[in-house]
Amino acid sequence: MATYLYSFIFLLGFSLLSPPALAAGPTKPKNVLMLFHGAPGQPLYDVTLSGVRTTIQRGFDGPLNLYVEYLDTTRFPEKPLLQAQFDLIKKKYTKEKMDLFIPIGPRILSLISQYLSPDFDEIPTVFIEFRPGYPDASPLDHKKGMTGLITETELKKTFEAALSLHPDAQEAFIVTGSSESDRLFESNARVVCREYEGRVKFIYLSGLAMEDLLQRIRRLPKNSIILYLSLLKDARGVNYYAMESLKLLAEATSAPIYGIWEFFVGQGIVGGYVLGVTPNAVRVGQLALRILRGEHPDTIPVEKGSMLYMFDWNEMKRWGIKEGNLPAGSIIINRELTFFEAFRWYILGIILFVIIETLLVVFLIILYRRQNRVQKQLSEAAQEWQITFDSVQDLIFILDSQWKIVRVNGPALAFLNLPAEKVLGKHCYSLMHETHEPPELCIIRPMTRTKRHESSEFYDPKRNAWFHVAVNPILDGKGEIARIVHQVRDITEKKRTEAEIQQARAELLRFERSFRISELTASLAHELNQPLAAILSNAQAALRFLESADPDLKEFREILGDIIQDDKRAGSVIRSLRALLKPEEGKQEPIILNDILNDVIAILHSEAVFRNVVMETDFAGSLPPVLADRIQLQQVALNLIMNAAEAMAEKSPGDRKMILRTQARDQHIRVSVRDFGRGIDPKNLERLFQPFFTTKRTGLGMGLALSKSIIEAHHGRIWAENPPEGGAIFGFDLPVVENPSGPGPMAKDSP
């Protein structure tokens, strides 16, 4: 047997052990001895052996020798026999060292202490001690090196459970046998049942022959219950396995039977608070494993064996016992499953399937709806976009990277007067310019380099129209041009308006000049009359000299010379006047600003005399030219000088002085007019150059606003400030011409 087991486990080890364990080489097998106090073949021990063995074998990797011994004290109760049996055991199992000893059974601890000490004292021990369910005097002194389970059958709980299931029970029959352990159970029962004697009548069916016993229980009165504890030997000395006797009882009985052993459930008893044989066996197996792996038994405390309520569904049905009346936590075996229970997983599966299916459907519906909504939104957005696209008055072409039209809006189609199919796929230039090549001025060309917005204006002579053209690239993920948005706007009307505004502005400037000059009429007349008066006087003097007897020719020459000079002077006044009054030609020419100021000073000579104003000049010796309109700059100078003169009207005549200054600065020329009047009211500084702003009683209020517009049109800046010494300075800065012969900044604007 041992050889067989060994080889079995060895083979098992070879086939099942993990490779690392094999690599360690063949190790010494562990020797385990199990000793059962009882006859072999009993269900209690078969179940226990199988549970312990399976647990150890499953959990232990190494080779294992398992030895099993039985002490059949039921059938061989004689002391000498027992002694001989133990002697044999000692002889058998001390030759080879045992690694683990597992004694199991009632009073086993006292037996091994009596018969196996001290020989087995060194062997680590895991025990199961069965104790009756009442206070037992026998010692429980497990020695050092031992651990295990102590199980106590609790008859009381079984009995209470039986009573609660059969509240009408009047008689309780306690069935036991004649063996020593049978009688132990009987005496145990007598102790326990004493407590319930007032409630039911106890009848002890013990010490009967099996036939008599069966006879008795066949005709039990109604409302009886049977408590079957143990029947290993009947009165005639026939030995039974507990299961065999139970089988006979169950067939014969006319009352429900309750018991205290797990393995009785399913064999004919209704159930009870039973000893958990299987759980205990597994538990002992686990403890055994821990010790085999090297733990010392002393480190593992002794545990209580597990008990459980367990009932047989078939017996319950037989005796009409409702499941609901069972104690809480009861285990029911042989349960006949309801349809639901039998097909629980199928049903749950189907329900789950239906639920999932439904969810899937709902999900799909939601998805579908959402998709619908998105679709709708998309189509609305697309429609919105298309309508917006068509509503834009500009012509919009969307081109692909090859400049072919992929999309075009309504106004563009209307402009080309072509249906969409004749436009799409064509090159934009073939439609717009009717050429096979993009035109020179096409701005898509620079855009393909910059990859940015480009725009420009151009004149289309064929259509006699001006267009503003803008292109914007749409870049793909790689930064390459995927699409080109090409926008064309007819700006002919705007250009015309601009021209009209330009003209109106010129007229306004001219009007302002005329107005200024009209203010100067008196002084200009004076300026003209001076030379005229001189000419007349000279001429008349000459006539009178002629009448004298001896005319002096030298005198005549001088007179004529003076006349010519005065005539020229008058002529120059008229010329400057005409220059100021004639319409501008918009001509830009390189101009030295000193000349402009000198011209204006000449015109204003008499006015300054009238106003008792002294005009001092502080001109830069040589100035680079600026590109400007001469008349417009004279207008600005005239305005600034007249304003300066007017600003000093309240001063006493001796203090009316102004300084006209020109300075060449970095890249621009500064002209300033400084007066010594009251200065500019600081709160007016901001508004000075706004149209219709005036502090004078006369005047248009346009002088400075127009001056500003003139200077800014020349890319300059006009300014005013109050110098700390008093008075005011008005001035302007104009950029110096870099290349006087080249085109000026204004020339670019003309088409």
Binding site: H526, A533, A534, S537, N538, A541, A542, Q565
Partner: protein, 209 residues
Amino acid sequence: MTEKDTVVFIIDDDPSVRKGLSRLLRSVGEAVETFSSAEEFLARKRFDGVGCIILDVQMPGLSGMDLQSELCKAEYSMPIVFITGHGDIPMSVDAMRKGAIHFLTKPFDDNDLLKAIREAIDKDRMAKAEQTEVQDIRRRINLLTQREYEILRYVITGMLNKQIAFTLKIAEKTVKIHRGRVMGKLRVNSVAELVRLAEKAGIEPPQKQ
């Protein structure tokens, strides 16, 4: 006196005009002095002879009108012929009120100018002569005593001796004596002559009480 008896002063800031005018006046034999500004003229020694000023209205610094006022204040009387590059009526009226002889607008005809100058010089000559007579009368009046001067003021009102005596609370005979002395000192023979003389000298009758 080394100065010429008659001089025309030309004051104009414009050299051409000065030159032309002085030529024109020299062509008719007038003595001419030119000044480029009023200030320059004022700086000249005071002229006692007969003459006139041709004065430009608009000039830097003191204008023609300013100079006229200055001369008035200084009792430096000389007829002024104003010339202007642009004359407006209020300005000319103002000038005339202050004693200008003529107001000519440039350019002007030589005859107009020469006529104006002649008038001005004649006026100045007469004014200067009258000024001489008045000075003579004043010298004679200065010979009168306080009482005689007082009697004179009453006589020119046409009051009779008796009335004067009553007013002054003196004897009629005394009045008669004083009156005789006044007539003698002033070298007049009739009351009418006395009245004209008193008028020239600017003697005013006493206030009525």
